[in-house]
Amino acid sequence: MSPRFEPVTGRYLNCELLGKPHRLFVEEAGSGVPLLCLHTAGSDARQYRGLMNDERITKNFRVIAFDMPWHGKSSPPAGWQDEEYQLSSQSYVQLILDVADALALDKPVAMGCSIGGRIVLHLAHQHPERFRALIGLESAAFTAPYYDLSWLNRPDVHGGMVCAGVVSGLIAPTAPSAERWETLWHYMQSGPGVFKGDLHFYMIDGDIRDRVAQIDINRCPLFFLTGEYDYSCTAEGTLAVAEKTGAPATIMQGLGHFPMSEDPKKFNDYLLPVLEKIRAL
């Protein structure tokens, strides 16, 4: 094959997040409406490679994805060795606002998957004025733990392998093999305890069941896309939130919990009509 650069650029952003200096890895492609993409727990921004390489999307949208601190090529803050990483609703919301400010984004669209799909509910509830629209992928108001999370970070179990093992079944059985294993590879590369720390938000602290009915989609349009094979955030979980908020939801056939990464082509076909609606706002 002939060598070819993708139309994706990655840079390190030095900025203050949550009151501390950080070195953050940010990727982007395209131009137009800023679309800030939030990766899943224990993974990184590479999950959005399919969006950044799809001209149908990048011709109208500036697709931006960052590795959260502790994830991917973003460093944890200095002194990390003496603390246990734990994501909270408050720190996750603030992180997104801080990154949007650091990148000087004017009312971006934010799209998040899984923990990202949950946090867009918090953003819609607390900060609707900051966003042009919000897109929740695999969004539900709450997911209770269904296995013992302590397996994810202990010295006698390979963290990368167990994290990939835990999430492997969330991928649709019909996903292309290369994209499935690419998705799992990101999980295998996660730092010790990072996936577990993110799940503190997903399965404990981020429960927003008591507030979803207060979300006003007239202040910020909200859209839901959920894969039919996702048993972590189920179709029922998304449809319940859609009913309470009045936001439109589509259950995506042949996709699971990581739609943008496990089968990018199929996912983009579902995403494009949503992006067209947002452009027309």
Partner: protein, 121 residues
């Protein structure tokens, strides 16, 4: 279904390599029909059907026949594609010493799903 398991796993060189540090015996319960499956260095070296008086095993996977039959379809129905999907719905119990299971999770997930390769729709 389990009678084919040893051949399906042992013929899969990638799967055997992934399980090369696995040495354990685990139990599969299909309703109240039990089988002990012995793994050595990633290869299945024994599938012993019960009944047993004093079975010795590290961990057990228990589900009804109906659940296993759906799980073993080549393209399982939604909700039956993965052990953890079944556990979350309380359709399967995973119990015992889970260390060998969790520390080789990708191996055991593909081992137990191996019958899908030869199941008729």
């Amino acid at each position: 279904m389990l009678d084919k398991l040893a051949r399906l796993v042992n013929d899969d060189a990638g799967l055997v390599r992934r399980g090369r540090f696995v040495n354990t015996t685990f139990l599969v319960a299909i309703d109240d029909a039990y089988s002990l499956i012995r793994v050595q260095e990633g290869r299945i070296v024994g599938v012993t059907p019960g009944p047993f008086i004093t079975p010795a095993y590290s961990f057990a996977l228990r589900a009804s026949r109906d659940v296993w039959e759906k799980f073993w379809q080549p393209l399982p129905p939604i909700g039956f594609t993965d052990i953890f999907a079944l556990v979350k719905q309380k359709l399967m119990q995973v119990e015992g010493d889970l260390h060998p299971f969790m520390s080789n999770l990708l191996y055991f997930k593909d081992l137990i799903a191996a019958p899908r390769k030869e199941t008729k729709q």
